[in-house]
Structures are given as structure tokens and as C-alpha cells.
Amino acid sequence: MHARVAYAGAMHTATPAGRGEGEVSLVLADGRVVGESDVVWLPPVECGTIIALGLNYADHAKELKFDSQAEPLVFLKGRGSLLGHLGVTRRPTNVRFMHYECELAVIIGRQGKCINAKNAFDHVAGYCIANDYAIRDYLENWYRPNLRVKNRDGGTVLGPWFVEAEDITDPANLNLRTLVNGEVMQQGNTRDLIFDIPTLIEYLSSFMTLSPGDVILTGTPEGVVNVDAGDEVVCEIDGLGRQVNTIASDDVFGR
């Protein structure tokens, strides 16, 4: 389990320092122990291609009135959308529905093409929490979901931690939950993925080479609600930690 953080003028790799109550502490690679809020958290991995799944939980698909699918619904995102733990994400004034999506992110560790599902985990380096925001007001019916909805600056929050694959016993049985201002709004378990991790890796690598650093955001369960400026959005996944993000208004961005 490690993070990438900026502290006192440099970037560092950091690991958790014990399991105390209250604020999380980190140990930097050079030995310094610092508090969670004393560092700037960066996305925990250098991402290559960012691959995202739409409607990959049966309950969420039903929530969005989506019936069945012959193959996974996949879209791609740019690195400009990435953000770390304790960041802020802009909500434009006058939009009606901006929502979070808590997702298990799978990080590829070994290059592969035409990977058989039974060998898929050989290509997984580890996992992290992702919160993949969307603004539904901007949905257009061309190449859905269009990037104005899903590829906004700070709209893809990763971390705090990258957790090595060997430290997650069963990635197909992890609880996910999202809390907005302390209230649980979204809950699910990765056992309910329509297309599970090995299936996704087999599917994607059947037509594209996957390389180390590529990230698969595996989709989100039901329970998405609108968030407003000032809201604190916390995404938690068993064994991966707790990710905090705050929604900010246009004012903060000089708009």
C-alpha cells in the first residue's frame, strides 16, 4: 500500500504509519512522518490509458433504465481528468445533476494482448478507489457518454492508496460505499459486477494491448444523487481506504 504525495517541495512515495484513531499519518520514503492533511495527495499511480465501464452493476443499469448488453459498455478518458485524495472538483453553476460514482479501479501491471480470463490476474498490479464524476446536464446522444459529461478537470479522483494485488484476497467481494456529508448514499459489492475483472481484461485485451499503468474503472452500483458546492464526498472500498473529495463552486475557479 503506497501513495504519491507532494510535501515540502518534492514528490514522495509514502506508506501508512500505523493505524491510529483520527487523522491518518504517512511515512515518507525518506523517513519523515507527516499528517494526512500536511501533504498534497496525487493520484497514486502514473496512469496510461484510462478505461471506464458504464452500467456494469445490474442495479445501476436498472436505475438508469438500461436493459441488457451484449458486450461491456466501455469509454476512454484522458489524464487531464485525474485528481488525488483531498482535492476539490468543480461544479459549474446552473447544472442540475452532477453525481459521483464510486468504483473499484484495477491497475494493469504486465503488458498483454488476447489475455485469457483465467490468467487475467497475472496482469493486475493492484487496485485503488476511483470516484468518476458525471454531469448529466451535458449528455448528448453521440458517442455516449460524451467527454463533456465524463472527462472534466478533476472529475476522476483516484486514491488515496495504491494497494498491491496480493494484499486483496478477493477483489470480487469488496464492499463499496459513498457518503455525502457523512450520510451513506451509495452501497454495493463487487460481487455484483455484470462483467467481472477477468472478463473485462479478456474482453479489452482481445482488441487492444493493455500495458502497465493502464487503469480499468469497473463501474458503479446504484445510489447516485446530485451533489452541490460545499458537499464532502467520501468513497470507501474494503481494504483500499477512504477517499475524500469536496465539491467546489465556479467562484473558486474564477468563473
Binding site: G48, T49, I51, E71, L73, V74, F75, L76, K77, G78, R79, G80, S81, Q111, K113, Y138, E140, N141, W142, Y143, R144, N146, L147, R148, N151, R152, D153, S206, F207, M208, T209, L210, S211
Partner: protein, 224 residues
């Protein structure tokens, strides 16, 4: 095919993300006819509609691109690529060229598909499906909004268009895209593909010539 391909040449490393723009050529919209106004689309796009050509698709000129086993024909969409030179956020059209490092010829290769509602990425994201030509610096392309784009298949002219036929010019596209997402140095934004894009078969070669830019040549070979 070179995953993680980086074209490390002046004036900027092409280490960023490559975006294509859907339906930014009048001919591409016209080719859809009345269906644009009908379900599931219910009208032409309002904001720019972009898609990502991921890093496994990026190959340099003179590459051999694997022709997939499961396709009879591929579509080769020649396009002017705008290479971003510095962080571009909320750019205004009149200053847009300040953010451009240069231009290149790109080919957006697709498995032909007729539905643009929610097409599978396996149509566009296969290995080698986005050849990129060498970069020509901004100063050497005085008017990117009026250059001829020619596509040759086996040395025969198969399509010709001009960037003047774009619905959004280079500057306006940069303004409208950077309103909602920041582009970084090294990112590439395709100005859009005209219709009809030529179709090719196994073994054919393609050369794209954009006025004032170095040509981009590829050949389709057997998939491994």
C-alpha cells in the same frame, strides 16, 4: 505496434492524450442525412463530441498496421491533428494559436460502424489505429483553417477535403473544448474526419498529404 509510443521530436513530446472530434466536418453531418434529427440522436451535437485514441493505437509514419481478422474493410479518416504546446484552459478563439505547438497528419482508423449513439470502443481503439505523422511547427502552417487534406490508397487519390469545411475552426474548437477540459502540452486534438472516409482492405497502403505538412504513410499488414 508500440504501446506507450512516444514521438520525441521538436517542438514537443507527443506524450499526451490524443482526442478525435466527431462530426466536425459538414460532409460528415450531411452523410447522416435526416437521421441526425431522429432518435436516438434527436439533433446534431451542440458541444464538441470527442473520443480518445488510446496509446496502444498510436504509431508513427511508415508503420505496418495489423488488419484485424474480424473485419473485411477498415475506414481511414484523414485528419489535421492540432498539437498542444502549453496548458490550454478556457482559451478564447482569438488567442487559440498561442496554445498550439504545431500540426500533424493523423489517420483515425475505424472498423466501419453506422451507429454513433454508443459505439463499442473496439471499432476505434485497436492497436495501431491512430498513425501520427511528423509535427510541423505552428509558424510553418500560417493558415491551418484552409489546407487541403488528401488521402491516397495504393497511390490513387481516394478522398480530398479542406479544413475550411470544418464546422468549428481550429480556434473555435479549442475554445469550446477547453471550456470543459484542460488540454496539456503534448495532447493532440483532431480537427475531424470528412465523409465519406475511404475504405481499405488487407494489404493496401495509405498516404495522407496535408498541405504544408509532412506526409503520413502506412500499410495494412496481417495481424499476428
Amino acid at each position: 505496434m508500440t504501446p506507450g509510443f512516444v514521438m520525441d521530436c521538436a517542438p514537443h513530446r507527443l506524450s499526451g492524450t490524443v482526442y478525435g472530434t466527431l462530426l466536425n466536418q459538414r460532409s460528415a453531418v450531411d452523410a447522416l442525412g435526416p437521421s441526425v434529427a431522429e432518435p436516438p440522436y434527436n439533433g446534431a451535437p451542440k458541444a464538441p463530441v470527442l473520443y480518445v485514441k488510446p496509446r496502444n493505437t498510436l504509431v508513427p509514419s511508415n508503420s505496418v498496421v495489423a488488419f484485424p481478422h474480424d473485419a473485411d474493410e477498415l475506414e481511414v479518416g484523414a485528419c489535421l491533428g492540432i498539437v498542444i504546446g502549453r496548458t490550454a484552459c478556457r482559451v478564447v478563439e482569438t488567442r487559440a494559436f498561442d496554445y498550439v505547438a504545431g500540426y500533424l497528419a493523423m489517420i483515425d482508423i475505424s472498423v466501419p460502424h453506422s451507429n454513433y449513439y454508443r459505439p463499442s470502443i473496439r471499432y476505434k481503439a485497436r492497436d495501431g489505429f491512430c498513425p501520427l505523422g511528423p509535427v510541423t511547427g505552428r509558424a510553418d502552417v500560417p493558415n491551418p483553417n484552409s489546407v487541403t487534406v488528401r488521402t491516397y490508397v495504393d497511390d490513387i487519390l481516394a478522398a480530398q477535403t479542406n479544413t475550411a469545411e470544418s464546422l468549428r475552426s481550429v480556434g473555435l474548437l479549442l475554445e469550446d473544448v477547453t471550456e470543459f477540459m484542460t488540454l496539456a502540452a503534448g495532447d493532440i486534438l483532431g480537427l475531424g474526419v470528412a465523409a465519406p472516409a475511404p475504405r481499405v482492405r488487407r494489404g493496401q497502403s495509405v498516404r495522407v498529404e496535408i498541405e504544408g505538412l509532412d506526409a503520413l504513410t502506412i500499410r495494412f499488414g496481417e495481424a499476428p
